[in-house]
């Protein structure tokens, strides 16, 4: 017997929640308990009184599955709103990566040159290393990191995706 899998598409969910203990565990637990995969997750409070947090989740799911995920998230008690940004029209996605490259000589020069092409900033340097800060969509960050592998990459930290819909309207 073989187990069949549905065809999955990428979705970016923006979720606003009450900023209270356990809420992140409830949301991530909902994904793990039902076998849904989380590609990236970011969370920070966004209101002046720190009472509301915004969580951005990137996940792979079929159309039926994403409808179910949204309904299940929406029925969690501390969840205020769930929006599939891909469903809402065009949106902007960004993530930040800090990329540490070590080396000397030509590789070090090439790393700095490529960083300039990608508009990455140097945020720390020694005589044998750089730490670059790069901002962009995930593809751009992926490509930059892939190039740095050839130039002495030693460590990467990424924030995961934050996203917001284009245009004047709020969520």
């Amino acid at each position: 017997m073989k187990i069949q899998q549905d065809i999955a598409e990428r979705h970016v969910l923006a979720i606003t929640v009450t900023n209270e203990a356990g809420v992140l565990a409830k949301i991530t637990g909902l994904f793990t308990a039902r076998g849904y995969n989380i590609e990236s997750l970011t969370v920070a409070d966004i209101s002046s009184d720190h009472a509301v947090s915004r969580i951005t989740v990137v996940t792979q799911a079929s159309a039926a599955m994403i409808d179910q995920i949204i309904a299940l998230l929406d029925r969690l008690v501390p969840v205020h709103r769930v929006v599939d940004l891909a469903d809402q029209g065009p949106h902007v996605e960004r993530e930040i990566a800090l990329v540490k490259v070590a080396g000397t000589g030509d590789k070090r020069i090439e790393a700095l040159r490529l960083a300039d092409v990608f508009r990455a900033k140097v945020v720390d340097t020694t005589l044998e290393s750089f730490v670059f800060e790069i901002t962009g969509n995930s593809d751009k960050v992926d490509r930059f990191i892939a190039l740095m592998r050839e130039c002495g990459l030693v460590e990467v930290g990424r924030t995961g995706v934050v996203a917001i819909a284009r245009g004047p309207k709020p969520l």
Binding site: M1, A21, K26, D67, Q68, A71, R75, V77, H80
Partner: protein
């Protein structure tokens, strides 16, 4: 205002919320609350013998009254023992509040004595849960928890209260009304979906109502509305296991339960219908059978208070999110406003009568006086003997549960208490305890199997302590019958660990607890035995010895369609392919 201790606040909040009964078991981390409850004038505490039983008793209390059940247990093992009951209540949408003691806040996370991560463990088996870190929060959280447990789709809520929070003092806050910032379940159905549904119902030639536990949860008025809508539209009706009693089993439009052990006429009607009106039911796998063959010719109207139930398994053509009762009332109002008349259902009902003629619930039996008792006969005799006494019936899980669902008729809601979603052996007896506590003057019968009953049999002591006249009717075939039945169907009768070996003498067990015990062996003892049970005051165990190898039919085997039912006289021994074996 004067300050009070957290423990006093818990009790004051219970009083303010109208709680009259708490099922529980004391322990170190919850002693302050037990002290506050000591000789309390308005709250009865029922001491169970195992915390799991407290949760099922609370479910029985809730299911038979419509009010939330309340449980009080200690930290650590007290809390972990509630997990099965919490999950059961989550799956069957039973409103329940479980108060757990916790180690004092400075000790949380230190592996303290009787510490466990209660909110972590119960996160996925509750509708919501709380860890209360300061006494100021206790009042608002208690009120919010009851609101969440009872509004929208009902469910269990855990409040974990560290011992120092129970002892510390603060001013008790009791909100007049809970106005939750984010939890706002949709109760009122939308008018355009009601109009769309009415248009489909009025146009349908072969409609069928498929109703579930949501109608029971919506209160007795919803059951009354369901009856009115069935009369108005003339459509026949079937129901899930959880929905039994919402519609009278004696009505001509009633087809019996549907699904795996449902009637032939229900399942055939679902398969051939051109419109299915699902009300408070969630297309569970026990109902649908093989999904790609489920009700292929029909449109579906799906009424559910939980948006996530809609399109989860079966796509809905019209979705109505809201309370089942409000939705039924809105459908009735719209039907009347349009002055619609029911279509002629003659042809459709004649086809249904053709399926009824299969007499799928008949079973082979001997009428000799010394014949063995068929389990189906035992249920029918119990039903006949209790008609007019309006009994509350609970069950454990297994063959006896399905036979009870098939052969015991229910005409009113809140009389049928069974573990549907989780299928918890050990549910029925404590549920009967809870139902009897809530309804001291009613006849409460637990129909059990000899295997299931042993999962919470310690509650015999609780029954004795509170002098509850619970009648425990055990269909004893010396097998975990449903397991054995599946082994016959799927594994060529290799009976791996399904024999009930080393059974206790149930009559002597009854005597040991101060109950009345009796044993029925032959058909000619059955009716008199049941009468004796009913006429005996106080708790009674009936050890009803039934035909050992009887199986529960009709049955849709796993992986089969509604039209592929096995009837009573079919060949059942065999094996199955891996796809069918992999289904639950």
């Amino acid at each position: 205002m004067t300050e009070m201790s957290g423990a006093d606040m818990v009790v004051q909040a219970l009083v303010d919320l109208g709680v009259d009964t708490v099922f529980g078991y004391p322990g170190g981390a919850v002693l302050p609350i037990y002290d506050a409850l000591f000789n309390h004038p308005s709250i009865q505490h029922v001491l169970v013998r195992h915390e799991q039983a407290a949760t099922h008793a609370a479910e029985g209390y809730a299911r038979s009254t419509g009010k939330p059940g309340v449980v009080l247990v200690t930290s650590g093992p007290g809390a972990t023992n509630t997990v099965t009951g919490l999950t059961d209540a989550l799956l069957d949408s039973i409103p329940m509040i479980v108060l757990t003691g916790q180690v004092p806040t400075p000790l949380i996370g230190t592996d303290a004595f009787q510490e466990c991560d209660t909110v972590g463990i119960t996160r996925h088996c509750t509708k919501h849960n709380y860890l209360v870190m300061s006494p100021e929060r206790l009042g608002p959280i208690m009120h919010e928890a009851f609101y969440i447990a009872t509004h929208g789709r009902p469910g269990p809520v855990v409040i974990d209260i560290p011992k120092n929070v129970q002892v510390a003092t603060a001013i008790y806050q009791s909100p007049a009304a809970v106005n939750h910032i984010s939890y706002r379940p949709q109760v009122e159905p939308e008018a355009d979906s009601i109009a769309a549904a009415i248009a489909m119902i009025a146009a349908a030639e072969r409609p069928i109502f498929y109703t579930g536990g949501g109608v029971i949860n919506a209160g007795p008025a919803a059951s009354a509305s369901l009856r009115e809508l069935v009369e108005l539209t003339g459509a026949p009706i079937t129901s899930t296991l959880m929905g039994l009693g919402a519609f009278p089993s004696t009505h001509e439009k009633w087809l019996g339960m549907l699904g795996m052990h449902g009637t032939y006429e229900s399942n055939m009607a679902m398969n051939r219908a051109d419109l299915i009106i699902a009300v408070g039911a969630r297309f569970d796998d026990r109902v649908t059978g093989r999904l790609d063959a489920f009700a292929p010719h029909s449109k579906k109207i799906h009424i559910d208070i939980d948006r996530s139930s809609i399109n989860k398994i079966v796509p809905a053509d019209v979705a109505i999110v809201g309370d089942a009762g409000r939705a039924l009332d809105a459908l009735i109002a719209e039907w009347k406003a349009q002055k619609l008349q029911p279509r002629d259902m003659g042809e459709w009902m004649r086809r249904i009568d053709g399926w009824r003629a299969a007499r799928c619930l008949d079973f082979p039996e001997s009428t000799e006086e010394n014949a063995e008792i068929m389990p189906q006969r035992a249920i029918r005799s119990l039903y006949d003997a209790t008609r007019g006494r309006d009994p509350i019936v609970t069950t454990e899980v297994g063959q006896h549960q399905m036979w009870a669902a098939q052969h015991f008729g229910f005409d009113e809601p809140n009389r049928w208490l069974t573990s549907g979603g989780l299928g918890t052996m050990g549910y029925g007896f404590p549920a009967a305890v809870g139902a009897q506590i809530a309804n001291p003057d009613r006849l409460v019968i637990c129909i059990a199997g000899e295997a299931s009953i042993q999962m919470n049999i310690q509650e015999m002591s609780t029954v004795s302590q509170y002098r509850l006249p619970v009648k425990l009717f055990i269909l004893n075939n010396e097998w975990m019958g449903m397991v054995r039945q599946w082994q016959e169907l799927t594994y060529e009768s290799r009976y791996s660990n399904s024999y009930s070996d080393s059974l206790p003498d149930f009559v002597k067990l009854a005597e040991a607890y101060g109950w009345t015990g009796m044993r029925l062996d032959r058909l000619d003892q059955l009716e008199d035995g049941i009468q004796t049970m009913l006429n005996t005051p106080g708790p009674v165990i009936v050890d009803c010895r039934v035909a050992k190898l009887a199986n529960c039919f009709p049955m849709i085997p796993s992986g089969a369609a509604h039209t592929e039912m096995i009837l009573q006289n079919s060949e059942v021994s065999g094996t199955m392919d891996d796809e069918a074996k992999a289904l639950v």
